[in-house]
């Protein structure tokens, strides 16, 4: 470890812009949003990387059909990310790649997680326009470590994911407070699992209540990035590691993700102009 993450190691070398995907609550679809966002950015012609820092429950590799792949190491002790596509414009790093078995439990206390995250941020050979960082639920060690280490990197901001219930909204409000306190730019709130259209009769049921995300965005004064309805096809694609945006390109969920990419890239362009 000492070899790879020296004191002067650069944070996220080779990354154009970084986007964080956050949520105070678990199971709202952070990883799903990460994967779909990355695929959409890739489809828009950018090169993308995904960094999964959920150490205790990494699910990105499964969603991209990359289970069982190994991470290669360069002679300099850097890790080469796993490539999703043949032309190497979509790459992924997850702790799952370093574990022997699918069911291995990572029982780590905070300090050890912090060391691992520091290492993941400094010793990977990225070469991407956009890096999406998928986080575990909560506002704890992983998040503090990432925020601390990202100060010197180009961070576009955070996409905060919620589900429509008041319960989730409460947790996510705490996440927004966290972003403000650590000074991270909030790109906006995305409401996932918003309504379910019955495949039989097309009746739309709001299984998990409705509108929570938009209300939260208005209340907190941050942009509302859109709604992603529950789509069993999306769950299926995530499980099989298939590309949902290609398979169901005309679905409402796909439209939301494409709009999100437009928002992100335009913000990114603005920011670059300012910097020039």
């Amino acid at each position: 470890m000492t070899s790879a993450a020296g004191p002067n190691a650069t944070i996220l070398e080779g990354v154009g812009q970084t986007v964080l995907v956050l949520s105070g609550k678990g199971g709202v679809g952070k990883s799903t949003v990460t994967v779909q966002l990355a695929s959409a950015l890739r489809a828009a012609g950018h090169s993308v990387g995904v960094l999964d820092i959920d150490l205790c429950g990494p699910s990105i590799p499964r969603m991209l059909g990359l289970e069982g792949r190994d991470v290669l190491t360069t002679p300099q002790g850097k890790w080469v990310p796993v490539y999703v596509d043949e032309d190497q414009r979509f790459s992924v790093i997850s702790l799952a790649f370093f574990l022997d078995s699918k069911s291995d439990a990572v029982i780590w206390r905070g300090p050890k997680k912090n060391a691992m995250i520091k290492q993941l941020l400094t010793s990977i050979m990225w070469n991407v326009d956009y890096l999406i960082i998928d986080t575990p639920p909560g506002t704890s060690d992983e998040h503090i470590s990432v925020m601390e280490n990202l100060r010197s990197a180009a961070v576009l901001g955070a996409v905060v994911v919620t589900t429509p219930q008041m319960m989730a909204v409460g947790d996510v409000a705490r996440e927004l407070t966290f972003c403000r306190r650590t000074g991270i730019n909030i790109l906006g709130v995305l409401e996932n699992m918003a309504g379910f259209v019955c495949p039989n009769c097309s009746e739309c049921s709001n299984i998990l209540a409705t509108g929570g995300g938009e209300q939260l965005a208005v209340k907190a004064g941050v942009p509302f990035l859109g709604r992603v309805p529950i789509d069993p096809m999306l769950a299926l694609c995530s499980e099989k590691g298939e590309n949902y945006l290609v398979k169901c390109s005309s679905s409402p969920a796909a439209a939301t993700f494409q709009a999100l990419v437009t928002t992100l890239t335009s913000q990114s362009d603005n920011q670059m102009e300012v910097e020039k």
């Binding site: 609550k25 002679p75 890790w79 029982i107 300090p111 912090n114 909560g138």
Partner: protein, 314 residues
Amino acid sequence: MTSQAGDIEDIAVQECPSNMDDAGKAEVCVGCPGRELCLEGNKPDPDQKIIDTRLRAIKHKILVLSGKGGVGKSSLAVMIAQLLASNGKSVGVLDVDVCGPSIPLMMGVADQPVLDSQWGWKPVVSPSSNIKTLSVGSLLASGSQAVVWRGPRKTSLIRRMVKDTLWGRLDYLIVDTPPGTSDEHLSIVKLLAHTHPEGAIIVTSPQKLATGVVSREIRFCQKLGIPILGLVENMSGFRCPCCSEVSDVFSSGGGEYLSVKYGVPLLGTVPLEPQLTAAHETGSNFLVQLPPHSPTVERVREIVVTLQAKVEGN
């Protein structure tokens, strides 16, 4: 592959010692930046006696666990507690989810603070079901206040919650946990170890994706020697209120798959129910809010019957 690569992989694959007595002392801990902290937390606990006395007054202690977030740990913890209470048991719910406590809202005690008494923190009593609850949410001043804490601080708060709470005599204490297998889990397991908790209920949702994460939790229990009372598959199918067609919103079969794979009993499957969300959000008792013939109520009732037979039979 160079020798450096070997080092890196070792660090990634090796785990913190599962036996808490070895924390900071084992071979893997050499060179770990958290070693000092682990060693510090590893002295014999001077308050263990007080903790044990408090916990011995509680007959059955049950953990609700899941590696994955948002599968309904809190929801299920609340439903089981409310059913047990309606069966005439005295029940307490301890919420050790420090960063995302949702129990206070579900129990309808969101605006009630925990009072300090001569004998310790007095848990807040839910008005809808007479259940004693303690959660970080009740210890915070505002709902949107973020608890941005690193592990050691969370550990010490959980310790205080166990040591300083005046539960009194209880039949059941249901412990709701955050997702994952980290500080909170190790802490609560260690604190309860002396007084032998009955075991853990593991919650999963039907997707294969969730089962991957949940199987890590099963391994966690096996490693730490916590008996697994059973699995519950939540969010299992949705009956369209318009045409009664049942859709597997989150695919299906995850609970059964895990149950067979790890030889753990499947306690039951609980379908999605929009009215349940409403009941939780208003903090009311789901037994009152939902129609009595609702499949969700029936399934949870079956689960609690099995659970009681298991726990009280011994």
